[in-house]
Symmetry: D2
């Protein structure tokens, strides 16, 4: 299999390195308009070919094209690649609008090509372990999902902090709560230093009695990356900043009492043991590359496909409308 | 000075103990309909007098009445006390509606009586130290205020988690950001186990370019009580669950670059030293009692007065409307 | 049952309160030469009787005497009490020398009186849980026991930091490792500010291939109270400064490989899950008082008896000899 | 300048990479008997030359030789290199005995060649910052130095845990406390799984009234790397496992009271603010390489030279004698 990579900036070299390392890949072609980026790749990875013009890549014999460019160019490159008969890998977020995402999905289905959206956390040992616990019904029904991702972070010029940071958390939420359908979105926040919000809070309502909230911030003095999953059997905390014991499962929760004790509190809580399962350390990007290659070879949807990308983009799009209207609820079909 | 205390349940014994310990107080009269509560106080504090009927307390010679009953009865007892010529101390939140708060303030002013609202955190060493830092302009202008108060907590029967927990954080926010005027409120959340929300997120917009957010939750497996104040000079984190180093001041922040470097990022961040000031450990309730007594003796408004109580009640009231309408913005005059 | 308490200083009031609260106790008599201490008790506990002279207490009809005086007076009061036919409760450490401990044990046995040594940690929920795990063989054979108890602490005038702090940890170690017999002791440390060491390290060798180490320090800027138990099946960490999750059990350890893989490392390690069992919160002093009373009523040795006190005193005594000789090994019979 | 590297195993590739990156270095020659290691280097660093026999390296025109082989071979390679007129860089610990270290120092002085011992922590931003604080007399006189380095770690076949882990901490101690002269050493510990101790405690006595202790352990379920420096002005904690705030300086300490208050405690403690200075992140190995090159070009002793290496080896050697005699004090001249 031969792979092209468009965009050799920040993340591109990691993508080139990972695809070169896959045994099924015989050639990797990098593509970027900037000469300095191409020569950087050439030096580090002498086996890579390099091109300046992406049209040359489209005409080449690569089987798949990896798109690692700014989000507002994803659609243009992705559409051209699909029309040239190439499978595509797109960095998060999938597209700048849900209409773009839908159009790409349509083309890929007509041409039986694969779309892989790089929701990279799905391929980490931590999220795989949490998914396994949920599949085994350790947590019961998830009542709420609470996510915090805050830091002193690089301001983006073109998007706000939700578009920058929340795709990670939204893709995790969609993966872990795949049976809960999103009903609507409300977003609040503030832009202190530019036109784009640097602090934001995103509430997500579901069609069942569940709720999710996402706190993202580029201007926090402390770095917090933590999720709480409130199950009706057990509760789980995922602290991605911990060196060890990233996942803690609490045998704690809320208990409804029967009517006999009606004069006392009807709702009580219970605290039990906690355990922290061992998490396998792997490089998510390597597992993602393998999943992309396998989905092509087995002619099936990859684990993080265009539909998953579309779901995230829908929420991002709605959040944008909501935050411009100070938290107005935006329904999602 | 003689003090009456109405409501000898959960918090009442602490109030009785604290007022007995004040040198200016010559007598404390407790008042509760339940005989068991009265005898509990009698045993522990033999010097206290006890009454069952609050009308008897109104007719007594006490100078001030402390109201430690459920919030929906605050107005009734407070109004009766003021009309009987007594100064009042009211537990948080001040009243169930802003109209009630205004009416009590009116009466107190006409009769030159003091209203003390027990925003107890204002009297802790931690909040006093943070206020001092803000007064000395250590933090610069506060751009955002972020508060989290979550735990496995006792469900209240009559109110949701915002009315139960947020008054602490709202009173702290009002105290620390007294120059920023609240413009509007949006609240989101979910009621998983009863009619009252057990998870809630409250966004507060200010008339200047500041923003605050409050996360409260009765159903979290982990106990977090943390505030972040994003100043444009320095940033502060207050972790009330830490045994030591509760307050950390970060010489970190966002820097705007001049136009010369326009092709690079214009907004960058800076990380410097951190320091954690020593905090004096005192019993907040004792300091509050002294402030109440002094405000009466000096004929001045106490530090946490009816106006402060009203401001908090206005936000709570607006949050209730907002959360019932999935985050609709409610303006505050 | 009637109880006398000699020594109403720092810890005495807690002892009086606890014994008054026991349903089997009909009278508590406090005894102290200082009038201010007696009147303090009289005010707080009106039901207590008070005496100045301990000879009057010996002549009274109390069944048992609690000794809460400085350690160098333990023997005098304890011997007098036993000779007057009273059961005794002695604060830690039991006595100032092992000869004193042995003499008290002898008298108690001849007169069939009970000696309770207040190794209070043995009655905490945490140590009870750890003991339970060891009984169930969760940890396997304990290879090493490592204890740290450091803080900015009050200097004692009469003893060094080992005599002050280590009795807690030594009594825990003896309780948890009751099958391992101590062979010898080596202590190192320094006295920076007085004649008594403020930093000390105590190594304990056992007759089997186990080892224990105790680090105590009055002059540490950070407060650490942590024990590690290295079992050959699992390992346990007890962090007494944690608000929650004080006990963590690690399914980690060392594995010996068979000779087949001889060219590789023969000793490897394994990392697995961790769990933190729920610990019941109780007042240790209350459970201790109940155990003392029950041991008298059931005519049996209490859980923390004179023999346990003697074992701890032997190690303390040996540590004193060793530290004065810069770590010389002192054998224990 | 041309550099040779003997030993291309675990650490060798990092050394090759770092010397290639130095602008003053025109050629790097790697040397190892194992063909697989040579070809690994050849692939990753095409500019490197490679040799199998170290005699060929001795005969080459390299200016300096880096020795990254097991400790028992350090002397042989180092002596041969010096005799061939090459400067040397030796990995820690310098040599297997203090006599070897002395002999190498002698040769280097006669031939005016440089010995660099790779005490790598000396070149980290954290230790540089602590040294700066000590130079500025922030801490006052250091009364005690307490170091813990424990983990589930790889057992070494040829040495115990002190020889494996303590050289890091001993070199840091020597650097930070250069004015305090070591007087003697006592070591205790246990070998649970092989002939070599896996748990060890090392006490170091100084000629002034200072004391140091080192706790090293290959079989701890938790990873702790922490040093406490007890100064008589301030105290410092260095937690190398923290992602941020690795260094904390406590304005806390012990205060001696004058004789007037003689009836009260004469020694008290004081707790003040804490601060955490910003630490510059740099690659220690890169800074070390620069120091080595500069010391050669400027014909001066490097910051971590043979004398520093010798001091550490003396303590290691003494610890070995002591631990085999259960903590017997071994004097150091």
């Amino acid at each position: 299999m031969k792979i092209g990579v468009i965009g050799l900036g920040y993340w591109g070299p990691n993508l080139v390195r990972n695809f070169i390392a896959q045994p099924e890949v015989s050639k990797v072609i990098g593509c970027d308009l900037q000469e300095s980026r191409r020569s950087f790749i050439q030096k580090r990875f002498p086996s890579a070919e390099l091109l300046a013009d992406y049209n040359d890549l489209l005409k080449s014999d690569v089987d798949a094209i990896v798109i690692a460019t700014p989000v507002d160019t994803h659609f243009k490159f992705a559409k051209a690649a699909l029309e040239a008969g190439k499978h595509i890998w797109v960095e998060k977020p999938f597209t700048a609008t849900s209409d773009q995402a839908k159009e790409l999905i349509d083309i890929s289905e007509k041409k039986n090509l694969k779309i892989f959206v790089d929701h990279t956390f799905i391929y980490t040992g931590s999220i795989a372990k949490i998914k396994e616990l949920i599949r085994e019904n350790e947590l019961g029904e998830i009542k709420y999902f609470d996510s915090v991702r805050i830091n002193l972070g690089l301001f983006q010029h073109d998007v706000n902090v939700i578009w920058d940071l929340a795709p990670h958390d939204l893709s995790i939420m969609q993966y872990l709560m795949e049976d809960s359908k999103v009903a609507g979105v409300a977003a609040n926040g503030i832009a202190n230093y530019s036109d784009h919000e640097n602090v934001a809070h995103l509430s997500v309502y579901f069609q069942n009695n569940a709720f999710a909230h996402f706190h993202v911030n580029w201007t926090s003095p402390v770095k917090i990356r933590r999720m709480i999953l409130g199950g009706d059997k057990k509760m789980l905390v995922f602290n991605d900043m911990a060196n060890l014991e990233k996942i803690k499962v609490y045998d704690s929760g809320v208990e409804m009492k029967t009517a006999e004790k009606i004069h006392q509190a009807l709702i009580q809580y219970r605290i039990g043991d906690m355990y922290s399962p061992k998490v396998v350390q792997t490089e998510a990007l390597n597992l993602g590359a393998k999943e992309f290659i396998n989905s092509i070879m087995e002619n099936r949807l990859p684990l993080t496909n265009g539909y998953d990308g579309l779901k995230v983009v829908k929420i991002l799009e709605a959040s944008e409308k909501s935050i411009k209207n100070k938290g107005q609820l935006i329904n999602i079909d």
